[in-house]
Symmetry: C2
Subunit: 135 residues, 2 copies
């Protein structure tokens, strides 16, 4: 390499700090800003893409139209609260054997996986079935 990747490094540090499990580009961008590591959004974007390409990070897709990134070392599946949008990490729910079975039956090669559970997190569940749905 010919130059230090300041943004990438800072990003990995932020993500490793573990205040969150998966980060949107905006979250990463503002997190860096708060660290005094202000950077351009596009740099965050490119650094994230690069980390993903290199296998250091992975993209996490939820259905809220924003791509998130998480460090590969911290992989876990996710429980997405449809009320407060919190993303709770949960251990892998699929047994290894299952993957092999799918590869056998489909002939495909599975390289990665991601499980998204949708529902209500502990707090929102406790808050009761309705929240601010009064018309």
């Amino acid at each position: 390499m010919a130059r230090k990747a300041r943004v990438s490094a800072a990003m990995v540090a932020v993500m490793a700090a573990g205040e969150r499990h998966a980060w949107t580009l905006e979250e990463l961008h503002s997190a860096l800003g708060e660290q005094g590591q202000a950077t351009d959004f596009s740099s965050v974007f490119r650094a994230a893409e690069k980390l993903a390409a290199e296998g250091q990070a992975r993209k996490v897709a939820l259905d809220d139209g924003r791509t998130r990134f998480e460090l590969v070392g911290a992989h876990h599946d996710h429980l997405y609260c449809t009320r407060c949008h919190e993303l709770v990490p949960v251990p892998c729910l699929i047994e290894r054997e299952r993957f092999a079975a799918v590869e056998r039956s489909t002939g495909a090669a599975i390289l990665d996986h991601h499980v998204i559970l949708r529902g209500l997190c502990r707090d929102c569940r406790a808050a009761g079935p309705e929240s601010g749905a009064a018309p």
Copy 2:
């Protein structure tokens, strides 16, 4: 209701025809066009959102920046080929018991789930490790 939802109905019909497992809005839009049911893109968008809100359809998020929709009755998990982008349906990979375990350990309520497997489909796998990666 005060009026027939022509687009919604046509969309459900198209999706139920089962030529595909999950549809992007564009795919639905053009599929309707080919059926002689030409409609505006925004109508497709709104109909899809409505179906999702009513629970008839569900959003499927991959990390390719496009939201897909599938009929709820046709639920299955997916194997996404990172080379040809085909989406292969696979049976649910998680045992019911696992969901209960997560609900117990996290206190959350799980309402839905989706598993995305990433890798190479049968054909792409057979095509060998490299394809058009010549620089």
